[in-house]
Amino acid sequence: MLLVPLASNAPEGRAVEISELATAELVLAAAAGSRAAWDELVERFTPLVFSITARYRLSYADAADVSQTVWLQLVQHLPQLREPKALPGWIATTVGHECVRVLRARHRVTTVDPQTDGRLQEDSRDGAWPESDEELLRQERHAALLAGFAELSQRQRELLLLLLADPPVSYIEISDRTGIPVGAIGPTRARALERLRRSPALAALLGTDLIES
């Protein structure tokens, strides 16, 4: 169990379990030097990073390099991140920039014959493939869901991952692995999903939806 004494708003001397902290609190703790808080941030936001590199069709090797560059930038940037809640947005923007860099650098060093190579037309858009509205909405939804998922406690994330496992995991096994009594899995699941729905990123998305319909 990872514990960190919180300098900011926790009562003096009280230790809080890292995995229960909100993103904004993790950012503050990591900026103050907590490696455990940093590890938790990386764990929570890695799916968001790779979801965006996949959007730019980066190879797995390039995606891994972009990920590392972005995390190194974040280590430096933590003290300047004035609005810790804005981390998901910062990550999305920074990953996007790094992806564009990789794609443009590739185009520079690849020699193509414009007469015969159809890639030129595509390349000249610098990685911005023509996306259908549907695809853009899907990407936006993925980013919001992953940012929201990162706001759940470790216990809630673990439960949802087990519930989504393929092949399915039985409630008895889920109970064994998480320590949640079988009878409490349903209510815990409902609470986790409600928290996900109320996370800022997803609430914004669902709110837009409401206005449209």
């Binding site: 990789v102 060093v109 869901l145």
Partner: protein, 159 residues
């Protein structure tokens, strides 16, 4: 049209798809590397932000000149460092000039040191760079025992 995410089943299905979009075959390795990146935190360090990168410059992108060098400029209130990558050579200039030691830093590798001349210019070639061509790197500028670090950047390898 968004899928129905107000029902628990719908939300779970949407979440499953989102999580699948963020998978990576070497996820655990990437997470471990990113967690180790924390050791590069230096709270007292002076940071020079990337203020220009030709790869993100819309004008140069539309020109699409295959042999254009990549140019990056890092800056803070006291120092500016311009980096130009031409073929296998990194050429740089620090402003204001003076007795400056440049260190090219790459995670997991021995740092590479080069001294700037009286105009603040320095260059590093492929033979000395070696593996620097891949992965994140940053420049450290040391003057009178005062260190400035640039933001981390990434040099995509030649295909």
């Amino acid at each position: 049209m968004q899928p129905e995410m107000r029902t628990d089943e719908g939300l779970l299905a949407a979440l499953k798809e989102a999580l699948a979009s963020g998978e990576h075959p070497q996820r655990d390795l990437a997470v471990a590397n990113a967690q180790d990146a924390f050791s590069f935190q230096r709270l007292d360090e002076e940071l020079a932000q990337l203020v220009y990168d030709s790869l993100l410059d819309a004008d140069s992108a539309t020109r699409r000149a295959g042999e254009d060098p990549r140019v990056m400029v890092f800056e803070n209130d006291t120092i500016s460092i311009e980096i130009e990558i031409v073929g296998d050579t990194i050429v740089g200039q620090v402003v204001p000039p003076g007795e400056v030691m440049i260190t090219v830093e790459v995670p997991e590798q021995e740092p590479f040191h080069v001294r700037a001349d009286e105009l603040g210019c320095f260059s590093v070639t492929a033979s000395s760079l070696g593996a620097l061509r891949r992965g994140p790197l940053r420049f450290q500028i040391e003057r009178n025992q005062h260190k400035t670090f640039t933001q981390w950047t990434y040099l995509p390898p030649a295909p």
